[in-house]
Amino acid sequence: MQAFVRGLGLWSPGFSSVSDWCSGASRSEAVKPEASSLGGALGRRATALTRIGVEALQQAASDAKVEVSAVPTVWATAHGEHETAVEILRGLVLGDGRISPTRFHNSVYNAAAGYASIATGNRQPSTTLAGGADLVAMALLEGLCVLHAGARDVIVVALDEPMLPPFDARGAAAPLAVSLCLSADSGAAQARVSGLRRRDVAPVARHPRFGGLYVSAALPLLEAVANGRRERVALELDHGQTQGVWTIDVEGVRPVPCEADRT
């Protein structure tokens, strides 16, 4: 299976776009993204994780020039709405034991998918995946399979936030959402991706900012696409893999200079 990458998106505090990230230095003071499609009422109810996911979705749609209200979506999050789940736990154990209805429906793993669908009027199929260290690869696989099943475009969004105390933060200091618009159609493509499989290669080095956040394993892929490089990229952080590491081959179509800080 192969696909063309037509658009990218990224949001993490200090980095409001893929080009911000690729410039290697924090450029923005924004602590939360605009996620303009959410608007007022939905925007006030949306969680921080949902906001960054919706922002990444919008960026990829806009970059790819696909209609955000009509594109199927695949979301991937290892821990889902973790902050909201901890707020619920705090209320259950330390508070009055009640749960706010909004907080409850905000706690589902598909909250970002739901808010995005409602905000943009998108009735296309959408799924939300969770899993282990290979989550980014599994999300790309799902995206490729959605194209194989007949969709012209699909946007894959991977998003996670650091764990809160008392749970182990795994060295992650910041949330991250990244997105790719995959297309069956080569028109306006930035890169071609193919050959998604496990190979005997080194896993992705952990970035100090994101520690063990599985979704950060997507960053080398985004950088390779943005750079227009021809490269085989790993899609998993080191997790004691014994059966190889998921990889994908990237072949740039439209080179754009990018010097990411990978130290």
Partner: protein, 398 residues
Amino acid sequence: MSAERSGSRRIGYPITAWSAVNALGVSTAQVLDALHAGRSGLSAAPPATPFATVCGAVRGVLEPLIGDLQRYDFRNNRIARRAVEGIEPEVQAAVERWGAGRVGLAIGSSTAAMDETERAYETHARTGSLPRDFDVQQHASPEGLLHVIRTVTGIAGPGVVVSTACSSSAKAFGTAKRWLAADVVDAVLVGGADSLCQTTLRGFHALALVASEPARPFSAQRCGINIGEGAAFALVERRGTGPRLLGVGESADAHHMSSPDPQGHGARHAMLAALDEAGLSGADVDHVNAHGTGTRLNDAMEAEAIRAVLGAEARALTVSTKGYTGHLLGAAGVTEAVFALDALVTGCIPESLGADPVDPQIAIAIAIRAAQMPLRVVLSNSFAFGGSNVSLVFGEPV
């Protein structure tokens, strides 16, 4: 694709084995016996529940996970392991037939091990530390559930947890079907698992949806939902013997996070998409296993959508099995798929427990009594928070 298509009618993929564990029993045989007998599994809610309700709790002994899986020894994983053991020979045969790397795993779960995380947080509040070895990321998580089922089965192909709330494990069939169609795998173990926890019980209560009495979907006397727990699995293979997964239809409401679109646009679209993929029309459907939660909004919307898709004159009997098990949330889709597959094979449509007297506004045929008849095509619906809809079509081989 020619292997999966015959003329205009698609032949889909055979489901060669299935299993379920829930309030009706700790083996598939116990579960289906209770279903056929019209016996509810609903019982008292967990003691920590601060309001009156009944729940679909798994009763009976669940063996602990030991050895390498000791750190995964949570109720959710115990229930899932118990359920997958019910089809262990068939899963082993598939792993040998296709190779471990050509068998995939797609499990639906909405809470993973939230009950255990609640206990761990409470322990931390009381003692200042989490229970020894407790790791929410690796063990009490979707990742942990995947690891347990991989370890028990030896499956080494792609593996995901689908987490779209109450449609999770029905949507896992969609992932399975796409993987098979793209030739990524030759078989997929589809599953679902969720265990009772205070977060979901109190969360649904906060939405004023929880019934104090046993749920009565489609009844004039319906009073809301009961929460249940359980796990179920279905083995979908490229070739084999069994009723077939003919179509999966997915859609989004784009309406509200926790209420269905009263117009039922998304529900209708999911059913029509599933039938279209199967090469069938609404008139071909012999039986519907509804989402049927027992809330006024869901039941009215869903019945209207079923009527629109099947036709006003349709005589296909619709059942909600949530009066037996409660709402299994992330495990509901595959559990109800197992009930639909059993109906196809046995011709037994269970009584829609508690539906009698049916709400006069529900304009479809509800199975107020159990029925026995040959069934060729069965449809099963699941709807979820975020407006996530999925409809599955199963049928006998043509």
